[in-house]
């Protein structure tokens, strides 16, 4: 990795970690949602740096374009001011710290022992391998996941519909 690549990597890493911390510590929920979108964008930058531009594009398309909008939508429809903020930011620091440590320690160990397996390619071009693996090698798991998501969506629609009829 050349100097420019290292600089971009540093900026993106600071962006991910800084914005991620801010998401947790900022007590304005819309700001947290936007900062999360920024974290997603930095993640997409990381994918670009690894030569995986298709994954980066999907990261932005789905997470910035759809998930963040959905979260903002939820925030705007939630009535505010009728409940204390303590409900949003509960005082369970020791338990949270323990859980975070339990997850973070293996990840950290993995990160420190990680060696570049040579996946990153100059100039990118991950479209072809991605397509062959999704629609060739892993077609059945991919289709299973699609059917599962479809079932979840239909289930959600049915649940909402029933509520509507009960209200009448």
């Amino acid at each position: 990795m050349d100097v420019v690549g290292l600089l971009i990597f540093g900026a993106l890493a600071i962006g991910i970690v800084g914005a991620g911390l801010a998401v947790v510590f900022v007590d304005r929920i819309t700001a947290a949602a936007l900062l999360m979108a920024f974290t997603f964008l930095c993640n997409a930058g990381m994918f670009l740096l690894l030569g995986a531009e298709t994954i980066a594009a999907f990261q932005v398309l789905i997470y910035v374009g759809a998930i963040t909008v959905l979260i903002l939508y939820g925030v705007m429809f939630t009535p505010q001011g009728d409940r204390p903020y303590a409900l949003f930011f509960q005082k369970q620091t020791p338990l949270a710290g323990f859980l975070v440590a339990a997850v973070a320690a293996p990840v950290l160990a993995l990160a420190l022992t990680f060696r570049d397996p040579g996946i990153a390619r100059e100039g990118g071009g991950d479209l072809q391998p991605l397509i062959t693996s999704i629609f060739g090698d892993y077609a059945v798991p991919f289709e299973l996941a699609s059917v599962l998501l479809l079932a979840a969506m239909v289930g959600a629609i049915v649940l909402v519909k029933r509520d509507e009829e009960d209200a009448k």
Partner: protein, 382 residues
Amino acid sequence: MPDGPLGLDPVVWAVLRLVIAVALAIFVVLNGALVQIYLERKIQALIQDRVGPIHTGPFGLLQTIADALKLIGKEDIRARVTDKWFFLAAPLIVFSPMLASFAVLPFAPGLVGADLDIGLLYLTTLGSMTVLGIVIAGWASNNKYSLIGGLRSAGQLVSYEVPQILSLVTVVLVTGSLSMVAITESQPGLLVNLLVLPLAFVTYLIAALAETNRNPFDLPEAESELVAGFLTEYSGMRWGVFFVAEYGEVTVVSSIMTTLWLGGWHGPGVDALPVLGVLWFTLKTYAIVLAFMWIRATLPRLRIDQLMSFCWKGLIPATLANIVVTAVLLLAFPGTLLPVAVANWAMLGLFLAAIPWAQRRRLAATRRRLRVDVRRAAPETI
């Protein structure tokens, strides 16, 4: 390294083509907005039997320039109850993805900012980021009209993104590439994709109208219901940035349609003089922009529930069926596009016939139900 046209050194051309592409992007966005506003006024005037702007300059040509100067000269007002950073950031979040879209548009052979393998995916990605800025603008304004405008826009954009992307998939199935340059090069002659995939073109056109908040889908800024929607609290050049972004977005979707369905830069004389491609590209793009304006001057605005049900019950099934039929025919008859074209034209006819039929049935059902409801509510009055 591409061979330099006009006998230029390839190294010089590599730098020069980037400069030309960026300059073209800024030129097209800023001047394009001025030209489009002028065209919009003149064409609406023509259709509505008026004269439009005539007093400022010859044929009123300087009217939009005067308006732009007025906008820039206005005081930058921000209400105290607005959310400062979000309010200031929203126009930029809308504007910058639109400007970045121009990086992959192929204006002429060799004249493209970056020929990405995933050019089309990149464009849809940037298109999906606009909605974030609009939602934030609606939220930060701290105004009910703005908020409703922003929420409507979010619902509309997220819904219409689905048929938009599905229409693109059909073209990608036929051309076999996501690169804008490769898609342009796949339709060199008169057999452009419009003749092969008319249904995908129509569904994309409808979804693009919704994505750019144009009539008949301009509900987020419906002035008769919402003052100006998410734009209510904005004035001066901040409002102007939203407007430039909107017209830029129209240019981008028209350019996508030009590239995917109308053959992009291809036209008489391009092989001899590649720069001529810019002319053909611009002419085709503005033909579509004019169609947008024609639609705006002709059609009334939809209601929000009609908008949503049309998307989910009309457009998305049509585009999904289109994908399945196209894919099956491409696999069944490799090497020829004739079956695909015949099926697509047939499905286009079916689509255009089925929508009014379904609407009439729905209207009749609604009327029947309302009559029953009224009788049940107050039987003695009937």
